[in-house]
Symmetry: C3
Subunit: 155 residues, 3 copies
Amino acid sequence: MFVTTHTVYKTFATEQRRAFVRITEDVQDAVSESSIAEGMVLVSAMHITAGVWVNDDEPGILEDTLEWLDKLAPPSWRPPANDVARELLPDSGDYRHHRGGEDNGDAHLKNLLVHHQVVLPVTAGRLDLGPWQAVFYAEFDGRRRKRLVIKVMGE
Amino acid sequence: MFVTTHTVYKTFATEQRRAFVRITEDVQDAVSESSIAEGMVLVSAMHITAGVWVNDDEPGILEDTLEWLDKLAPPSWRPPANDVARELLPDSGDYRHHRGGEDNGDAHLKNLLVHHQVVLPVTAGRLDLGPWQAVFYAEFDGRRRKRLVIKVMGE
Amino acid sequence: MFVTTHTVYKTFATEQRRAFVRITEDVQDAVSESSIAEGMVLVSAMHITAGVWVNDDEPGILEDTLEWLDKLAPPSWRPPANDVARELLPDSGDYRHHRGGEDNGDAHLKNLLVHHQVVLPVTAGRLDLGPWQAVFYAEFDGRRRKRLVIKVMGE
């Protein structure tokens, strides 16, 4: 079979600074539009302070995860959550990245932990996910327009 | 060349709750069956409490990694390993996700750290890995049937 | 369209034990050589103590990230940075992996956090990245020859 590709861009502007936005259906729509039956779909944040996560669409988990990420990759624009968060901040107490006027150093580290992209299988024209797998755009520095690219490739 | 795809599902039911299962040969078998010479292979857990990791097949590392993951993403069904693990638990002491009767909140966070999928290169019909790279299915909430999908795509 | 693939290997030998090496242009060069207009490019370290990260090419962030990774995945060949790093070391004080004479246990855990590969979109013959996204080879146990594979696939 010949190879086909299909590309879709999505824009987000979350009200909250940090948020998980479910995009499973957007990804499936891109797959359906592509008419690709067998292949892979790349879902990739186009920013350095956002990510893509595949997990359970259960509010408790998403809230747990944001609390936990704030300990592992602590913001410096508010008091650290506890001693672990304090010690995981830079030794100087603030990110070197903030010298230029930014305040989102933590969001870059959250991007590292979550990863900015995933590749998902497409089988018989459908996202080939397990029953509990949902796809989320993970925003760590929102309240402004940010973009994500979905690229489907296959036969 | 035309594009070809080949899909294989594997099922795991680990005896331990947490385990690394070597699957390098399973992935190579899927590549060989596909007759694809050049391309990529996606190896993806179909669960939200499992992952796929490429690292060294050395028992010390795997044991180190499980100990370390239990500190970073601590279970709440046993006493925290130390103060860091205690502080990385939710502030309330238990995961919000457990309100519904689950006890695997830590496994969701381990899934985030390890990531649920990898994409590997295929060159001349072989997995194009470095000499020490082995592929592992990483189970964080086992003792039941769980699935993984391997999808090869290329020419 | 027919599918095309193109494979390039890069070799690194960093002077520092840990370093981020910008490779955005190397990846774009591989894409350009391939003549592929639409597809995906896999960028994958061939080692278990290195990774690939897409983030901001801003020296402060890269320094912040190395400091932070040394707390989360602490080396045992120097005193831990603080109490968090001390507690994230194995309980015995050293990695089991070091029984065989190695001293790079921390680099394996940094590989896990950063991940050893990324897949990037190719659109109209260009890496389809956001304006601030740069691609880095992340070395955690350098000062020797190490390899990375870039594989472009598409139409």
